[in-house]
Amino acid sequence: MATTHEQHGHDAHAHDDHAHHGPDKGIMRWIKTTNHKDLGTLYLFFSFTMFFIGGIMSLIIRAELFHPGMQFVQPEFFNSMTTMHALVMIFGGVMPGFVGLANWMVPMMIGCSDLALPRVNNWGFWILPFGFAMMLSTLFMEGGGPAGGWTMYPPLMLQTGNAFPFLIFSVHLLGISSITGAINVVVTILNMRTPGMTLLKMPLFVWTWLITAYLLIAVMPVLAGAVTMLLTDKYFGTSFFTAAGGGDPVLFQHVFWFFGHPEVYILILPAFGVVSTIIPTFARKPLFGYDSMVYATAAIGFLSFIVWAHHMFTVGMPLAGELFFMFATMLIAVPTGVKVFNWVATMWRGSMTFETPMLFALGFVFLFTIGGFSGLMLAMTPVDFQYHDTYFVVAHFHYVLVPGAVFSIIAAIYYWIPKWTGRMYNEAAGKLHFWLSAIFINLTFFPQHFVGLAGMQRRVPDYAVQFTDFNEVSTIGAFGFFLSQFIFIFNMLACCYGWFGRKQTAPARVWEGARGLEWTVPSPAPYHTFEDPPQLPASEVTGVHDAEATHH
């Protein structure tokens, strides 16, 4: 259908389009924008603002834990910090970070001009600042901020002061934002792929986001219902989770973790997609076992629904239940192992180079695997009785979420920032950032395995003197990691605003080994890309099946 003379006409117009149809000027551009690139940028700026706020909270926690005894804050405020740190980092940092990447990259990767529902996309973003303003404002309310942990277990959570209804309402707002984003991504991926891009030719990042969005849509009503029942228990006299009225507080834990465990995969599946995109580029080989990667992602998504109770082995479940959840949890190691082996096999005999995105991707593979192994240890019911609610658990999930999810977001930004801005980042600063991050993150969290195994409890601002050395190391690591991130922030802002004389000289295909439709458009990517569905040449197909891999 695409005739040659029409194509010529399109090119001629394309030039004019960009001159006349750029973004609006001023603040209203950002408030009213429905452009996926603008909203992706907004999501990423918001995400890193939240990382900064959540990071400050973590520094307060670590400063208090530098020495045993009470140092700087009251125990109630310490508990507020642990609660808010988690909520801010999960719902404000990691999730919007990945939504920002999806906004920027999914349309460009599947060859469409924007997301399916651009206005909904705008609303979805602008709910977030209000939701978080409300959540953070609870820290200044009578009775203090929520301090019962991000899991909001009753009856402890029901003792929260005036902050409680505001917390619940803000969780609802964040849920609405997540759902609108997920629906938008799903409909876009299913309906707006360029001709020739079948499901099994989609880039892995798009696949992982499709499954992530499915999980989000499936579990968000559970969270909404659970927190609403908490609200009615506190203010409307219901007894869903109030033992005095015949309710069951443990039931809340089941309901919460039925949402919470898929949520863990919501936080990590897009990271798998990012790493599956970056490693083939710098190994200069197609991804090994594309199909198995897709099926492994789907398998992880499915298994995430049937493992929730491994978070609550100590509540007194029947033995059969404990065995089921133990084995089901261990089963997740199989598809996750498939992924790790595929990444390693992709690098095997590749022409590898180690630019900053690759360093972060490699850091992800190595350190996420450590988090995976400690997860396997926690999956074993008998030993989990020892590990439960200790710093071993804190070390485990931080290894999964920081060198896992956060490293992958950083890797993705290094990888795509030349495409977004047309300016190359400073490679030396990027490498320095990686090495400092990798060293300090291990300094922060590795000692926590030891203190956890020795019995140091989480969510307590004081500890036995015997844990002092490891806690000092951990605190030094946390401050070092936080400060190291400013190298990244300045490096990226320099790309955005052209600081230090950086010019927009990045070519369309920034990385020699990069494949995919996003690399066929100029850098920086035009405000509107793919107004006509592009052709999908075989050379840009990232989903290379095993039989074709030898010819690629």
Partner: protein, 174 residues
């Protein structure tokens, strides 16, 4: 001299109605299954949230799939311009015939600052809006193409000559 041309305008679409139903069914089975099980355990407040969310998903899919089937066919043969509007599989719901000599393509700005532009075929007092499913850039491109095709002078596009067989513009049509 004029050349015979057919332009078919429609949105790009990779999702069929059947696939949309399949996806929605899978999602509803998961969402309502979970909410139903919870409701059976007494946790009924999850059910309305699941229902609301599925309604939002259903609406998004319905809107997208409905957009997919929309077509506008502009057939220019001899001295006549035929414009047909309709949905795929349902035939033309409206047809207009205009004199090619007197028809002009006009691109008007939207009613207010953020409204989309309007591409109109104007002929002796008749105004027919086309290309509503297109983006701003696509509309501008189509406008230029229509001006070319409606002008009896030599076409500007290299290689395009009068009397060629009907050709289609690749505006999302596959």
């Amino acid at each position: 001299m004029f050349r015979d041309t057919q332009l078919m305008i429609g949105p790009n679409a990779s999702l069929t109605v059947g696939q949309a139903w399949l996806f929605f069914g899978l999602m509803a089975a998961t969402g309502l299954g979970v909410a139903g099980l919870m409701a059976a355990r007494g946790l009924w407040p999850i059910l309305p949230f699941a229902g609301l969310e599925l309604a939002a998903l259903g609406t998004a899919l319905y809107v997208s799939v409905r957009r997919n089937g929309y077509r506008e066919v502009i057939r220019m043969s001899g001295e006549t311009v035929h414009v047909e509007f309709g949905m795929l599989g349902r035939g033309a719901s409206a047809t207009v015939s205009l004199s090619r000599w007197w028809t002009r393509a006009v691109l008007e700005p939207g009613a207010h600052r953020n409204a989309p532009s309007r591409l109109l075929l104007r002929c002796a007092g008749q105004r027919i809006e086309i290309g509503r499913c297109l983006t701003e850039e696509e509309r501008e491109q189509l406008h230029g193409r229509l001006q070319e095709l409606l002008s009896p002078v030599r076409p500007k596009t290299p290689g395009a000559r009068g009397g060629e067989p009907a050709q289609e513009l690749p505006f999302g049509e596959r």
